[in-house]
């Protein structure tokens, strides 16, 4: 199964059946809306900037930045922005948008550098409590596919590149009827990738 591909407007316009078909599926509508949202909120611009960025500290071409890494960076930058909102800045931007003078506002200056990636947080072990306990029944969060499930038999604190911070990671002993149990007994998963397994009685 290949990774999902998101059609863009250009591809759609090059395929007449895509337009002339009387019924557009919910899935297709969702994809069109998704693409529009990426465009409307300047996410595509940010991705393009990241992929072509170059200065003395960072050169996207030199480090061979992959699409996935660029998307992860974009996600982290947006999260950082959300976590560092500043009242003065918001007031200035709101004023500018109402007066239609956006472009003359001071550039964002509140983005901060993330902590060094490989250093254990100095507060360890006084960090966030693990969400799950040994023996908890857990499954991987699904994106529509059947996922694996099992029992938490261990955990460790590790640096999560996708969050740019340290996070709990769990060792999960797969149930015998979990799909991947055919070739592996246990696997690890980040805390935000798993959820409690709600037992469903199917009798």
């Amino acid at each position: 199964m290949s990774p999902p591909l998101i059609p863009n407007e250009q591809e759609c316009s090059q395929m007449p059946p895509c337009i002339s078909k009387p019924a557009i599926t919910t899935q297709a509508l969702h994809q069109i809306g998704y693409q529009q949202a990426l465009k409307d909120f300047a996410f595509n611009d940010l991705l393009h900037q990241l992929k072509t960025y170059s200065d003395a500290s960072f050169d996207a071409a030199w480090v061979a930045l992959t699409t996935q890494e660029a998307e992860t960076l974009a996600g982290i930058l947006i999260q950082t922005l959300s976590a560092n909102l500043n009242g003065n800045l918001l007031a200035a931007y709101l004023d500018a948008t109402r007066c239609k003078t956006l472009g003359t506002v001071n550039p964002l200056t509140s983005l901060q550098l993330p902590p060094p990636a490989t250093e254990l947080p100095p507060t360890f072990p006084d960090v966030e409590l693990p969400r799950y306990l040994y023996g908890d029944r857990l499954r991987w969060i699904s994106n529509g596919e059947i996922t694996d499930w099992g029992t938490a038999i261990g955990r460790f604190y590790s640096f999560a590149p996708h969050r740019c911070c340290w996070q709990w990671c769990y060792l999960i002993w797969l149930d015998a009827d979990s799909p991947s149990a055919a070739w592996v007994k246990a696997d690890i998963a980040w805390e935000d990738d798993i959820e409690p397994l709600e037992t469903e009685e199917t009798l």
Binding site: W140, N143, L174, W183, V184, D187, A189
Partner: protein
Amino acid sequence: MNPRPLTDREQHLIDRYSYCQLGMTPQTFYAKWHVSQEAIAAICSRSTSTVRCWFRRGRSYRRPTPTDLRHLALMDFLLDHFEQIPPDLSLALCPPRQDKTEV
């Protein structure tokens, strides 16, 4: 039984292996060989749920570990070169599964 002392050549081989940067990304492997994500999971001894995250985009993308990358690089090497490996070495490296032979 006493462990066998190492020769210089053997020590050098261990050093080379320890610091070897051998690795292949799941995307490269997937593009090169006609395999399923389940096969990649089996090669890396990971669950399919984990492997799917390696192929996702955006926030739900997760990075494979260096061990996963090495598994894929070794598998790629074997697929490319197994015909040049003498049969006895190949058998010693990956002996056939013993289960389900006689039922």
